[in-house]
Structure formats: C-alpha cells, structure tokens
Symmetry: C2
Subunit: 332 residues, 2 copies
DNA sequence: CTGAAAGCGCTTACAG
DNA sequence: CTGAAAGCGCTTACAG
C-alpha cells in the first residue's frame, strides 16, 4: 500500500546501519559529511519519505489539530475555517475537522475522540445546545488531560480558563445603533433568530443600552420570526432595523421588500451577512463585518503558540477583535 | 501528555502478560472468559484507551481520509463537505481537509502530503487552475501509489480511471431552458462566470443545444460580467436568463432589479444559489438544486466501499446524479 | 564517526 | 489458556 522504501531498505542497500541512515537524514552532527551525502542521495533516488505514523509514535506527537465547528453550512464558520487553515497549513500540523451540528452529544463524542490521543490541540466553537444548557464539563475535562484547547466566537460567560478569541459584539451593535440614529432613524428595532446564543445576547444588550423604548423581535423559529416581523413592519412605525444574525438579516430585508419598502429610503437596515454574496446582491445590505477569517487565524495562532512553547505558564489570553461596519444600500 | 495507562501498565497491575491483555481487550477466542472479565474491568476502571498511533503503525493503516476542496467559502463545497462528513463520521475513518484555493500548486502539495503515508484514501475536487491547464499527472500518480481516490463535481473529460461523482449538468440546463420556454420566454440568454470550468462548459453546451439564436454572456471577471450584463439587460430584448453559477445568478438578479425589472414578471431567471440563504431572501430565485450534500455522500460512500473491499477489481464507477429545479419567485 | 540496543504502544504468529 | 518473541518504522541515548 505505501512506499516500500524504509530506513531499513536504505541501510541494507548502503551496507550501513539503520541508525546511521536515520541520523544522516536528520542531519545529525554525529555523522560524517560524506556518509550523509551517500545516504541523502540514495534516499532521494529511491523516493524515500519517512513513515509519518512511525515518527509520531516515536515522538509522542500526533501533529494534528482537532477542529470542532457547529455547522459548516453557516458561511461564517466556513470563513473561520479558511482562516484556521491558512495558519495551520503553513505550520507542520494539519487539521482534523468535525462538525457538532449544534448538538451537545455530538460535541462530546468529538472531544472524546480527540482526547484519546488523536490530536495535540483543539480548536472549538461550542454548539448551540451546549451554549443553551451551559454544560461545559466535557470541555473542562480536556484541561485535565493536558491538551491545549482554544475557544472562539461563542465564549461562555464564566471563564473556563482556556484561550479564547471573540468579537466585540456589544460595542458593534452600539456603533450600528449610533450610526442609524445619526442618520435620522427615530425608532430602531432589534431582530434576532439567536436570542439564547451568547453572541446574540451580547448584541441584544448592546441594543438595549441605547434606547428606553426598545422593540425586540426575537424568535429561534424562523417562521415565527417572519410572521412577527411582517406584523411589526406592517405597522410602519419602525424606521430602522438592526439584525443580530444572517438569518434575521435576510428575513428582515425580504419582508421589507415584499411589503414594498425600499431599505435605504424610508427605512434602514444593518445586519450580518455573508460578505462575498452580499457584494453581488442588490440591495447590498449594510452589515457588521466580523472578519471571520481573522477570528480563525488568531485562534489558530494562539494554539500553535501554546503547542510550541514548553512552558505551561504562558498566561491565558482572551482576545477581543474589532468589527467594522460596511455601509451598503440599506442605510445611509 | 496523554493517558499514562497502557497495555503494559494494565499487565503489570494484573500480573499477566501484555499479549494476554491485548487479546482480552480485543475479545480474542484464545482467552478465558474469566481473564477477559478481569482485564476489561481494570481497563474500564483505569480509563484505558488504546493509543491510536500505535495501532495504526501496527495495522499499517492511517484510518484517515484526505479531502481536497477548491474553496471552502463557496457554499456548494461547504455542503458537499457536510455530506462527506456525515458518511465518514459514522465510519471508523476520519477526515483531514485541505483547501487548494483553486491553485494547482497547492493541490499538488496536498496530494503529495497525502501520498506520503498520511491517508488511506483521497476525495478531491480539482482546482480551477488544474481544470484550466488540464494537468492531471499529479492525480494519476496517486494510482501508482495504490491509494484509492475519488473525484467529484469537476470531472475531467478524458477518463482518468478513478471513481467519480458528478451531476447531469447538460440536462439540467436543458430542463431549465425548456421550463422557461414553456412559460412564454422568447429570448433566453445564458450567463456564466465559469466559462472554462468543466461544469460551466457542460452547462453552456446544454444551453446551446436548445437555441439557434444564442446569447452567451460569459466572463470570469465579475466586473466585466456585470458591465456586459448591464448593457444587455438595458437593451431589453432578453426575457429569460439562465445563470451557470452562483455568482452569475446573484449578479444577474441584482442588475435586473437595479434596472427596475421584476424577475418573475417581464423577465425570468433560473440559476444556481445557496439554498439555505435563498430560502430567506426575496425574491426567492428559481434555481437548479445540485443536492451538494448528496454529492458528498455518494463520493464518500464509493471511497469507503473501496477501502473496505480487498479486491482491487471492483469496477470504476462514474456516478451521475440528477438535479432538480426549484421554482421560486423569479420565474413562472 | 558508526552501530547495537532499547523503546514508542500496540498486535499476532508461534510455543508451551 | 497464557506468554515470550518479533515486528510495525522510526529515534536516540550509549558503547565502541
């Protein structure tokens, strides 16, 4: 199945010992230049490459990083993964990706698999269910096993003692609110399909901090959300919408248009979108850019750092990245 | 770093040999029920789990499948990956995912890494550059190394002798054309941002087969595509658009709307979209559903099958899946 | 400068 | 039914 050329076969062909071959290939000081040359030449000629599994067993390192994503079909996570990949693929590690599909049970299974000696480090965004039930024991357990782990995006309120990378959700919404306000919006509503998610709550709090007369339209069920949205919009009192997630954003934009409103004229909308596709669409929705690739890169960076450093005592980092607002057609 | 409990430690504690412990845990017939019990109990008590790296070295199998995707930010590939994951995660393999970012060079590197004993099988959709340059030697090489490989989505014209899963692109467009035609479209144009991609060509041919008076608007550069599209639409002669890919679809829809057309009224549009997001948008674009998850599942299924079967002689399969047309608001 | 030996943690013929 | 030995393909003290 694999290469038949091994250290042993090279050694036999050169009539020297396996140890000498190994050391030569690893450029050991102990070996004469001449021997190294001979060995390296033959190795190249025979197309030798070390059996990675054997190396891992010997070195007691898997050279793999486990990644757990809630849902790959969410473009936010796809972009985060791209960011992770960019950093990791330029290191000597590679990535095993699992999807929890927002399920706590599945998340546990993944973590369990990882912790059984399958990876050297873990990158995880917790599942919605985990977030809701606030069950974090399976994550905390990982610390006991001495496997470095870094969290991103959905970071539990109570600190778990892991490296974490998130975005300033609260402030992002405050900025969005202020932007709308400074552009003649008098009555701004908040729309969300993620009312229980950590990030959703922070965003809602950001909104609530800005108004004494809040209108919050929040349902996990998209059908319910849609109906409530339709009724609210029909009333015609709201002239500004801040949407907390991509689904709420698309839905809000759709209902507005369907009712004959032109987002950007009588009414404004700022939300969260998939930047690539939004760019090609009309109207371009004004949106909060979380720079998901950057989130991925930063998280991977921390983990790689921790994997390199022997010292356990580098302090736990809690990185908060800034978002930016990109103004499109749906606000002015 | 990992579990300190090993076969050796269990053996010592039980005062029996490592081989007996190993066999007990693997439910060998050779061992007495009583000993098995003792061993299993202690193993559970101590939380033993076999070192996967050691098992792999012994078994000469990595238990990993390498996946190469052109671009994870394309929702089509994200869904394919989800399909792959669904099948593979229920097997005893797991997935290492690499992204070629549409680059031939990067694709070669990934394949090279995989072929050096890092995976047991490979799933790949070739990069755009690979497709363009028609350079397939690096893929054919994999066959020599005896590593099963399956292609999906972008399948080279000349058969390479690998399992392949694709979609009936030609016929899909023919159906779309016929649908528009039967709904009073007189002058149907074809819009594409993937003129050189295999799938793009098949789709174009499908279109060309249906008309003597074709209007093909095809540019890889989205800006160019947009400008040409604007001019064509301004002329007002086209009353039906078939778009060959997600970018062309979104762009076409956007330009139509921006020029005051209502897709679904004076003019129709059928294209390719991200189903999840399209569902929440307005207008819902009528689209050809490729069932990307199914593509992923089928491809993974074939590979797993080939990995299980010892016999090299199961015939190469070339699976062509059917698409379906989902009618939304932009056609009737 | 080179090589024999032990070991990483397992499995599996083979003996007893 | 149990265990000693060899081996998967490497690396690395340790001797010479």
């Amino acid at each position: 199945m694999k290469n038949v050329v091994s250290l042993k076969s090279l050694a036999k062909e050169l009539n020297i010992s396996v140890s000498t071959v190994s050391k030569s290939l690893n450029d050991s000081e102990e070996i004469s230049e001449q021997t190294k040359e001979r060995v390296k030449n033959l190795a190249k000629l025979r197309g030798y490459s070390p059996n990675p599994i054997a190396v891992r067993l010997q070195k007691q390192k898997t050279m793999q990083i486990g990644v757990i994503l809630p849902n790959i079909e969410n473009p936010f996570f796809a972009s985060v993964l791209k960011g992770i990949d960019e950093l990791v693929s330029s290191s000597k590690y590679n990535i095993i990706t699992f999807f929890s599909n927002e399920s706590l049970e599945k998340e546990k299974e993944c973590l369990d698999f990882f912790s059984k000696g399958n990876v050297d480090g873990i990158l995880i965004c917790i599942a919605e269910e985990t977030n809701k039930k606030k069950t974090f024991d399976h994550i905390i357990d990982i610390k006991q096993k001495g496997i470095p782990l870094a969290l991103f995006d959905r970071i539990p309120m109570q600190p778990l003692g892991f490296d974490a990378v998130q975005v300033n959700d609260y402030e992002s919404i405050v900025s969005a609110y202020k932007y709308l306000e400074s552009n003649k919006c008098q009555n701004i509503a908040f729309v969300s399909s993620i009312p229980t998610l950590i990030v959703g709550r922070s965003r809602e709090e950001g909104y609530l901090s800005q108004t004494n007369n809040p209108t919050v339209i929040a349902f996990e069920d998209l059908e319910e959300l849609k109906i409530t949205l339709e009724n609210t919009i029909k009333q015609g009192e709201i002239d500004g919408f801040i949407a907390a997630d991509i689904n709420a954003t698309l839905l809000c934009n759709a209902v507005l248009q369907k009712q004959g409103f032109t987002p950007g004229k009588e009414v404004s909308l700022i939300g969260y979108v998939n930047a690539v596709q939004n760019d090609l669409s009309y109207p371009k929705i004004s949106y909060i850019d979380q720079h998901p690739q950057e989130i991925g890169k930063q998280t991977a960076k921390i983990l790689l750092l921790r994997l390199e450093s022997k010292l356990e005592d580098i302090p736990v980092s809690d990185i908060v990245l800034n978002t930016t607002i990109t103004i499109g057609d749906t606000s002015r």
